[in-house]
Symmetry: C2
Subunit: 505 residues, 2 copies
Amino acid sequence: SCMYCDVNRAFGDLLPAKNGEEPTMQFLLEVVDILTNYVKKTFDRSTKVLDFHHPHQLLEGIEGFNLELSDQPESLEQILVDCRDTLKYGVRTGHPRFFNQLSSGLDIIGLAGEWLTSTANTNMFTYEIAPVFVLMEQLTLKKMREMIGWPNGEGDGLFSPGGAISNMYSVMIARYKYFPEVKTKGMSAAPRLVLFTSEHSHYSIKKAGAALGFGTDNVILLSTDERGRVIPADLEAKILDAKQKGYVPLFVNATAGSTVYGAFDPISEIADICEKYNLWLHVDGAWGGGLLMSRKHRHKLNGIERANSVTWNPHKMMGVPLQCSAILVREKGILAGCNSMCAGYLFQPDKQYDVTYDTGDKAIQCGRHVDIFKFWLMWKAKGTAGFEQHIDKCLDLSQYLYNKIKNREGYEMVFDGVPQHTNVCFWYIPPSLRGMPDGDERREKLHRVAPKIKAMMMESGTTMVGYQPQGNKVNFFRMVVSNPSATQSDIDFLIDEIERLGHDL
Amino acid sequence: SCMYCDVNRAFGDLLPAKNGEEPTMQFLLEVVDILTNYVKKTFDRSTKVLDFHHPHQLLEGIEGFNLELSDQPESLEQILVDCRDTLKYGVRTGHPRFFNQLSSGLDIIGLAGEWLTSTANTNMFTYEIAPVFVLMEQLTLKKMREMIGWPNGEGDGLFSPGGAISNMYSVMIARYKYFPEVKTKGMSAAPRLVLFTSEHSHYSIKKAGAALGFGTDNVILLSTDERGRVIPADLEAKILDAKQKGYVPLFVNATAGSTVYGAFDPISEIADICEKYNLWLHVDGAWGGGLLMSRKHRHKLNGIERANSVTWNPHKMMGVPLQCSAILVREKGILAGCNSMCAGYLFQPDKQYDVTYDTGDKAIQCGRHVDIFKFWLMWKAKGTAGFEQHIDKCLDLSQYLYNKIKNREGYEMVFDGVPQHTNVCFWYIPPSLRGMPDGDERREKLHRVAPKIKAMMMESGTTMVGYQPQGNKVNFFRMVVSNPSATQSDIDFLIDEIERLGHDL
């Protein structure tokens, strides 16, 4: 029960109510108490990662947790209970044993940054209402462009709501660069344009193709080697093939850190081809961009300085809270050229300050969430050096996992060799399948192993790791490490847990 | 100086560091202390709305506030100073005298909801990692569809990153409904499609036209009456004109609450025309959707139940923290049909739970920020009744302003009659212009009045209200009330301040 709040208190007692200051402070501190307890437990390995329930169970209302909305207000005490329940039945994505997503971990500085951002409750679209945040965004984007290697960090960019939207921006900008008349006349003003991206790339390039009016048929998938990296010769062959059919190649996406394999496409070789055929080169570094912060690993992105645009999500490998994704563009002015509508009622040119700081008209959004502050604050607190340490540590950990299982009984690696990123892809082969010859029966059985282990893992709530099929490969586990709280002991635990749960399958 | 934190402490002392729990709790509580002080001041009328500085001043570093990022970490003490400075040089959007945007106010329950959301730090794209939030979204969207008036609240929807993106979704879905082959074959598979929207509508419809490959020339602007409402006969005439030219009318946007005038297009009459010509009807209720919560005002949206899709931003009129925007669709399944790519590596069909709750593939994004919780929590705390009271109060306040200035010396209303929404649009005429005959000279001078007053207002930091030109009307003030902390005395203050600052112009 609640220490501070009178059971009869309700939202109407809070600010801006008269005498609302005291109840407001008490309520907020009570909420903070719930949140800080959650933070403590998140890092505590004796707690579960999750307390799994099926949708119908939660919808029916577990132990009085009622999700339904009603006409009448609830008391503040009940609101606090709702907050506790919401956290209780959620997933601790910052738990040292949560490995399910490319984004994991709970960075305390980033968390503080998000709390401040919510309290400031403003919008990025003009300097007028977000002066500090707008400047922080500008300085941070410049720093990121310097790390990419564009001269003097010149160029442009924005933080956008996720890597898929950042990738969509890149396609829009490329189209505007080569066929600016599409902005006013539509796709019928352009010839049949084609986009190229790897069969291992993120599906957002295809989504952008569909949304922007290219059509998914005009998103040509490139073949990869056994490690999931684009084969440059295949790109060139497909460009020539498209040209021969009368289509116009426009855009090539090179992935720096693919979602499943963590593969880095050979950017320099792809850049040579883009130069030769005058194509826009985008690098999707949503997952792998963070490696630019590491002197040891940044060579994997060699050639990125030749890209026309880059997607880089600090909310993935750099541990920034969700969400924080940047689209960076080498050519200045093209982002505004592509997207501006010059709506005088939103962006007044006759303000008393330098309105080039009003970034709203560059975006496809109008209001834009403040995603920069947490990242800026983390950069201040850690320095570039701190990000580097984090990244190097995660890559070391994944190599530890790789070394541990590559020759271990009951494991098969999905591809050979040290992973390029923290992605380690493997099958666990239960004893019952170990002697079985390769063939449809084994494949079908193996396909069901990972989902079964995952289901048991979630039921027991001890750890979480993702699985998926890829191409003709049946379901396998994809382990990724981006969580700063994970240690070798957590990797050991995961292996033990997979074996415990999967042994009798 | 900092009460709790040792000056030598840095981010590396925080969790997940060994013995990191105590420093983490101390650091977070220190941050909360900064934030709660800010909250108190936000509601205190004796504080300024903002402490204005030009970009170059902030970039040069005021009183040691250094925005630049560096390689080396800062101490936690410095991080706390950075937090204080960030708030100090920002804008108090929750201040009772902040009227600059459609989104204003600082709702305490919503704020608590955002703090929890950041702490949970997860992503909406699967039930697996956001079970509670996914269900909250589903239930809340259903409730919103019920309020729109769709039978049994059936349909579909998503929370998206802002009204512009929600409007973009509506255009994409309309295109998919009538020309599904565009998804695979691109816009060349469709005839020349045209979209209709009012000349007073939000520029996001035009942005969507540009982005999605229609071209802005194919976004036909509809004429409005003197109150900014679409003239239905003009819509019908323009549909017929487009058809005669061989174009194919696809989509009509009716605005419920325009950005500047707060006008509500006559939805029922527009719906009749859409039915007659078999066009998709979208209602952009980003700003006006909130009025559905009010028994007194919801008649202004009569006919909305006939729309095929609706944009409704609770972060505007309903005071939910940024951001929270819903795209609601009457036909179930079409959102997924339009956007899904069925990426097996992201959305595994063989999970142990009902995967229809995995919403990620419906979105154009991949990761999706949790925008639902704050809204759900506010709805719990206020009930529908609480939202209704808030909305009715804001509309009453704007009518108070309207009544106060409509016949006051030195004011001219931009349009006649009681405003439909909280938008009150007016010119302040300084004494020097009052005797001047209408003509170019007066227009030019009047055009400069609002920017000058606004600049002085920002320099003195006492209040904030927006201005803009519209069509052939020179710069005028657009007052809007969505801030729950505003009272009649704040309206009085605004008027006094405009007169004080503008008297000698």
